[in-house]
């Protein structure tokens, strides 16, 4: 019976030789990359065990008192559980304000989030269950999850976001990158963003969403600058220090964070906003909530119309 069945079925299908070659090449590349990363990790462990002096330096590094690496970022705000790793082990990030040296990884757990300052006024935000590594100046590796980057720098000083499915380059813009379920998703809120993927270059403009799957398929769609999908990044926005500052600064911040164009009802209203000096702080308030709280004490009000936020003189 065994013989009869096998003979009736015939020889099994052989894969084409070119498919064998292509898949083998890709798999060997992936294997060598993984081996390289494992060697680097092993080297770090060995270095850490080299002597008491090295251990002492590591302890100081963990406390943030000494850093042998240039500072890549500063943690501005955290929500829920956030952990960092500068060697082999993950450790809870207990407070904001810590410097992140090059080579450090940061991850948010379920329900968590983090906001970091990357210098030049650039803000990086991590959604829940996200892991990034700060590889070097203006180079971040997104291993998993979702990040939002608001880069206010001038043209030509953008960031590179490495992902398993391609590298994202920004040029002074606001955008979101998500890596999950074998898919890279890019949402551009302002400016332009490029993606390099296996030698192919894709560009996404403001209001565009690109989804790239593991097989290289690209799906484009539109997403408004005020779409509720941006809400998580707004919630994580680090609030500026507005105490003693004119209302125009707060209004500009809220407009940018909510993806809206700022418009004044009249030159007089704009002049009035410039002379209103705010007092207090808006820490941990989302942009619109901060605006509600601060304008309540002034004779100004705002109206949202599509993607525009208009500032008017209070009428009541």
């Amino acid at each position: 019976m065994v013989a009869a069945l096998i003979q009736a079925a015939g020889r099994r299908t052989e894969p084409p030789a070119d498919a064998y070659r292509q898949v083998l090449d890709a798999a060997m590349t992936a294997l060598r990359e993984k081996s390289r990363r494992r060697r680097e990790r092993s080297w770090l462990i060995g270095a850490a065990a080299a002597g008491i002096a090295a251990v002492s330096v590591m302890l100081l590094l963990q406390r943030g008192e000494v850093s042998l690496q240039p500072r890549m970022a500063t943690v501005v705000r955290t929500i829920g559980a956030v952990e960092l790793r500068s060697g082999e082990r993950w450790k809870p990030l207990v407070e904001s304000g810590g410097a992140i040296p090059a080579g450090t990884s940061l991850r948010t757990l379920a329900g968590g989030g983090a906001a970091l300052s990357l210098g030049d006024g650039t803000s990086l935000r991590l959604a829940a269950t996200t892991e990034v590594q700060f590889d070097g100046p203006r180079h971040i590796l997104l291993r998993d999850g979702m990040l939002y980057l608001d880069n206010r720098a001038s043209l030509g000083t953008g960031f590179r976001i490495g992902t398993p499915l391609g590298t994202v380059h920004d040029i002074g813009t606001q955008f979101e990158v998500r890596v999950a379920d074998g898919m890279l998703r890019l949402r551009v809120r302002e400016g332009h963003v490029e993606i390099d993927r296996a030698g192919e270059r894709l560009t996404g403009g403001a209001g565009e969403q690109l989804e790239i799957d593991v097989l290289g398929g690209v799906t484009r769609s539109m997403i408004g600058t005020t779409d509720p999908a941006w809400r998580w990044a707004e919630t994580m926005a680090p609030a500026p220090d507005i105490d003693g500052r004119p209302a125009t600064e707060l209004l500009a911040w809220v407009a940018r964070e909510t993806g809206r164009r700022l418009r004044y009802q009249s030159p007089d209203v704009e002049q009035r906003a410039a002379t209103v000096i705010l007092h207090g702080n808006i820490r941990h308030l989302a942009p619109l909530a901060a605006l509600d709280a601060m304008l309540a004490t002034t004779d100004l009000e705002y109206v949202l119309e599509g993607d525009t936020m208009e500032i008017r003189a209070r009428t009541e």
Partner: protein, 209 residues
């Protein structure tokens, strides 16, 4: 099976340690089987099957640290391949279950009917024979070690036990023993697939193999 799992875990550790020869040996064993696994679920789309298997290997390498040896390594690869296929179908708005294979459904009574039916040129008969062919392919691919190859060498190439022993680098008695275990594994695998069919079980029980 416990020994096989243990061996696979050792293989995974060697690969993780950078042993490219161990990886090539594993790749050569798994690639044709995974390719057929994907091809059968993609309506014969060879290009997509190649891409799916490529992604399967890349994903598996990334996650190899997480392989604990609870299942055979090939079974673990098949599960990753299923996930890559599911992603592929979902992104194209196609249901995963559009291609229903005999080895994917518990009731294999149809196998018996196909085997018992006289050879015919009717389209329906050809479809069933293709299904049977696919079932035998899948069963051979699912057998542990090189049992599938041994059975093909014996029953398709007509090689003697001595010739098989030479290919395996074994003595004649060890080769005969391996051939016997391969036959038994194939018989058990087919019987498991066709567990709903008393007739087939009976046939297998009566057959000398």
């Amino acid at each position: 099976m416990a020994d096989l799992v243990h061996v696979d875990r050792a293989v995974a550790r060697r690969i993780l340690g950078g042993d490219e020869a161990a990886f090539r040996e594993m790749f050569d064993r798994f690639f044709p089987r995974l390719y057929r696994f994907a091809l059968a679920r993609l309506d014969g789309d060879a290009d997509t099957a190649r891409d799916i298997v490529q992604q399967t290997f890349c994903n598996a390498i990334q996650r190899l640290d997480g392989y604990r040896g609870e299942a055979a390594l090939y079974t673990w690869f098949c599960q990753i391949c299923r996930n890559v296929l599911a992603d592929h179908f979902r992104k194209r708005g196609r249901g995963v279950a559009r291609v229903v294979l005999l080895e994917d459904q518990p009731d294999a009574r149809a196998i018996l009917e196909a085997l018992a039916a006289p050879v015919s040129d009717e389209p329906e008969s050809r479809v069933w024979r293709l299904q049977v062919r696919r079932l035998v392919e899948a069963t051979l691919d699912a057998l542990p070690g090189n049992y599938g190859d041994v059975l093909e060498w014996k029953y398709l190439d007509g090689q003697s036990v001595a010739e098989i022993a030479q290919r395996l680098g074994l003595g004649p008695k060890a080769a005969e023993s391996q051939l016997q275990r391969a036959r038994e594994a194939f018989r058990v695998a087919i019987a498991d697939l066709a567990s709903a069919s008393d007739e087939l079980m009976g046939t297998l029980g009566r057959s000398p193999g």
